[in-house]
Amino acid sequence: MSILNLVFEIFSWVAILLGSAFMVIGAIGTLRFPDFWSRVHAVSVADSAGMLLLTLGMCIQGGFTLVTVKLIIIGIFLFITGPTATHAVANAALVSGFLPKGADRFRRKIVIADNAAKKAKKKKRSPLKGML
């Protein structure tokens, strides 16, 4: 039994240390990369590998308890919301016309989206009217 415990202990610490390493790598990349678009990618390293490995390691540390269930739920939520948040940030950059080099052909669509937003703004008065 103690051997099994030792194996679990080693496995969880390997996961936690690896996850921490990926978090640090993500931080280094965020500081080192030159522009917005490459920094988004650096953050996603911490977001996927760092988060998953740290949650896994903490789950094994928790054992068969309520804490592990909560950690799994946190992991699932972060697994879904992490990329969604990244997408929201990148999409905001695109919509505001902040494009990377050599991607100017995507700019035309932004102007159209802009006009649509202006039109929507003009028409909108009371969004809750008629719904209640």
Binding site: G26, F33, S38, S44, V45, S48, A49, L94, F106
Partner: protein
């Protein structure tokens, strides 16, 4: 109605797991928040007339998740290598990726899979393609993304089609 009851039971189970307290007052608060949530969900369905469908198979989704975790591990290594090496990322590119999924949930899974694998980010979703930004674009990337696209399309349950 049945959907509402199932959602209420799920939410109640989630509340009990999260709180771990079984006092009367706390339980009443829990029941009230479950009812409030169900009420808001039903009202939102009525307002926008847009129900979410789940047209994906359970077992094939689990298989896809395992494959996705492998891909995440691989591309994490690639991006970590770029971060730790001394070169600057000068192979950035923005490009379009064709999308073949019919249902919204499968498209969301595909877009989030692209973003979740480090090195590629879904920037915009349009009718039949996504705009994707890659940090280190190589020739094989388009095939890799097409492969992922085919795998996501494979977990869709056919016949249900687009539900709007």
């Amino acid at each position: 109605m049945i959907q509402g009851i199932i959602a209420a039971l799920g939410l109640a189970a989630l509340w009990l797991l999260m709180s771990g307290l079984y006092k009367t007052l706390i339980l009443i608060f829990g029941a009230l928040s479950v009812l409030l949530t169900i009420f808001i969900i039903r009202r939102m369905d009525k307002v926008d007339n847009h129900k979410l469908g789940y047209d994906i198979g359970v077992f094939s989704t689990i298989g896809y998740l395992i494959w996705l975790l492998k891909e995440i591990a691989k591309s994490n290594m690639a991006v970590s290598k770029i971060i730790l090496s001394s070169k600057q990322p000068d192979q950035q590119k923005m490009f379009e990726v064709p999308v073949t999924q019919q249902s919204e949930i499968a498209q969301v899974i595909f877009a989030n899979s692209i973003t979740l694998t480090p090195g590629t980010v879904t920037v915009e979703s349009e009718d039949d393609h996504f705009i994707v930004h890659a940090i280190d674009f190589a020739e094989g990337d388009m095939e890799a993304l097409a492969d992922m696209d085919a795998r996501v399309t494979a977990i869709e349950t056919t016949g249900s089609g687009d539900n709007s």
